[in-house]
Amino acid sequence: MSTVATTSTPTREPISSSKPATPRTARPWRQLLPLGILVALVLAVSLAEPAFLRTNSLTVVANQAIPILLLGLGQMFVVLVGGIDLSSAALASLTTVLVATWLPGMGGAALVLTLVALTVVGLITGALVAWGQVPSFVISLGALGFWGAVSLVVSGSTTIYVSQGYGSISWLTNMGIAGVSSAIILSVALVAVIWAVMRYTPRGNVFHVVGLNERAALMAGVRARWVKTAAFGLSGLFAGLAGIVLTAQQQSGAPQLGDALLLPAIAAAVVGGCAITGGIGGPWRVLVGALVVTVLRVGGAVAGIDPNYQQIIYGAVVILAVALTIDRTRLSIIK
């Protein structure tokens, strides 16, 4: 995880033994590789199980990918600024509990309240990281433990089934266009919005800049501490969104419902081509990454591989996918 780095004393830029790189636009095929992997994976699974190619199965996969995508997008902001958020999946679990608890009484307002709460939770983590000047790995680990306990307490450590007020969120999975659920449509729209904001607004590249060289950003008057805090706030917000979709999909909230999605979400960001060292990545990459990870997670089983060997295949394909897709031209050192 070369993820995470602390340097209070920057060393001088090392002499690089890498060859002068080709301009960044020289290899467009590189950017297509994650997509190629996705298509190849889908085709491979379909060869073994043709039923996989039906719209029905594919939309199922897409639906499954949404929580990973949303968590991955939140993770992207944190990874872009050079950190990592281990608490995001636990926050999604907390969301499902809050939503399931509040929906019957408040209806749609519960969603707004939850998102606000989760954003604040993320901002707290971010503020501790930014102004405490401590590694995000440890702080978010502490947050993971703390908010996990809060989920358990709030839920009475049980699953809360949503019956009354489910209408406020059921449209996310039940409604849609041509079998494509509104959760999918909204998530893709969200990806497009993030992309547009990052590209077309004056400060859109600020996460990238802070991730590439935080000190230089500081010296250029960028409020880097706020940017980092905001990245965690966004991670909290997206964990909230992911939690709402999970609640809609499962029609219930539970204190550990989303916990298992932490590594897939990080993997989605990395497989899509975000550098875990920060500064490189974007929402479209996370979208493709989330789909790849989801197909990987379910593909082995769908293709009918002996359950005993599925994990081996899964592990091998994860490595293979990253080996093929990672853009090494912009990383002279792979950690």
Binding site: Q31, A51, T55, Q64, Q250, A254, P255, L257, L261
Partner: protein
């Protein structure tokens, strides 16, 4: 992503969509079909479990296999390794195969149940869920496709095993309780049974209770720590499962107190647990007969699909009920030492409601 990338993505999506159009005509028309007459050839049986390295679930799958083989119907085993998403996706892809799915599932979490039964209902299959479901959703609310929900009386398990433990301690002393994951309903009901039994007497006191997350190692370290704290006060340990009881046993043995500290497990009857009872290292466990569990769920679905069982007319107590189970102690442990044969398993589920032990309390 570059402009080229976006164009390529659009192309890929279009291509996939075109391909799928041709393929989807054969999809089963879904939705709430009543108990019908589906022929064996159009069926596929699915047994879904968390992992195959868990003795309980391994035996469950063996039971399922025996039953499916007896009818000559294909069995697909879904192993989801504790990943709810994986469970649902695998199920969806089997459902998309077009055959009528008969599903017997041990859901990963309570929260998974609605999504699973809705998916099966939409595809016109039949499902029996086991062990856990959200309290306020029931099979008869969803329809005939959710044939039944069966579970096992955790409170009874906790109560009976605690009684045995108290007896073995001679009715006095101090006991430590190890729960499973805090958020787990089953663990909670077993612990409720434990508390009930403890409350009905006054000789044995509860020294401490901790969650050990069903984890053998965590049970080991927790017991080790608590043994240090309470010393000789501890004369009994109750654990919600065999694996935690075995972890505790390890710590007790290392502390040189094997035999002095009595250990009871509330569930699972794993080969190791049974061995420990035979060796006198444990006093009790409970069996729900995993072979039966694995076969019975499929049998219910099969009878619903063939029309042998009219699901719609079943009373609620036959749609959500406890399955009878047996306390295992040193007295009867020998009876469970050898696994049942395939014939025995198939015979036991000829009347899949035969072990109905009453409606959920």
């Amino acid at each position: 992503m570059s402009g080229l990338g976006r164009r390529f993505a659009a192309l890929a999506v279009a291509a996939v969509a075109t391909m799928s159009l041709g393929a989807c005509s054969s999809t089963n028309s879904g939705g709430g079909t009543a108990s019908g007459q589906v022929s064996d050839d159009d069926m596929i049986m699915v047994s879904a479990v968390r992992s195959l390295t868990n003795p309980y679930e391994a035996a469950w799958v063996e039971g399922s296999q025996a039953y499916a083989d007896s009818l000559g119907i294909d069995l697909q085993t879904i192993v989801y390794n504790g990943d709810s998403q994986s469970a649902l996706s695998q199920l969806q892809s089997v459902l998309a195969g077009g055959k009528t799915v008969l599903l017997n599932i041990n859901p990963n979490t309570t929260a998974d149940t609605p999504a699973i039964v809705n998916a099966v209902r939409a595809a016109g299959g039949y499902v029996v869920t086991q062990w856990s479901k959200p309290e306020d959703i029931n099979p008869w609310d969803v329809g005939d496709n959710w044939v039944a929900y069966v579970t096992y009386n955790g409170q009874e398990e906790g109560y009976d095993t605690t009684q045995t433990l108290i007896d073995s301690m001679g009715g006095s002393g101090g006991v430590i309780a190890l729960q499973g994951l805090l958020a787990n309903d089953i663990s909670q009901s077993r612990f409720a049974g434990f508390e009930q039994a403890l409350g009905e007497q006054s000789g044995v006191t509860l020294l401490d209770q901790q969650p050990a997350d069903f984890d053998r190692n965590k049970a080991y370290t927790t017991t080790q720590t608590l043994l240090n704290q309470y010393g000789d006060q501890v004369t009994g340990i109750w654990a919600a499962t065999d694996s935690m009881a075995l972890g505790a046993l390890q710590a007790v043995t290392e502390a040189g107190r094997a035999g002095q500290v009595k250990i009871a497990s509330a569930a699972d009857a794993t080969p190791e647990g049974l061995q420990a009872i035979q060796d006198g290292n444990m006093v009790a466990t409970y069996t729900t007969d995993p072979y039966y569990n694995g076969a019975m769920g499929l049998a219910l679905c099969y009878q619903a699909a063939t029309g042998a069982l009219d699901v719609g007319s079943l009373p609620h107590e036959d749609r959500a009920f406890y399955v009878s189970q047996t306390l295992i102690t040193a007295d009867n442990v020998a009876d469970y030492a050898t696994p049942p044969t395939a014939e025995q398993i198939v015979d036991s589920v000829q009347d899949p409601l035969g072990r109905n032990d009453g409606a959920l309390s």
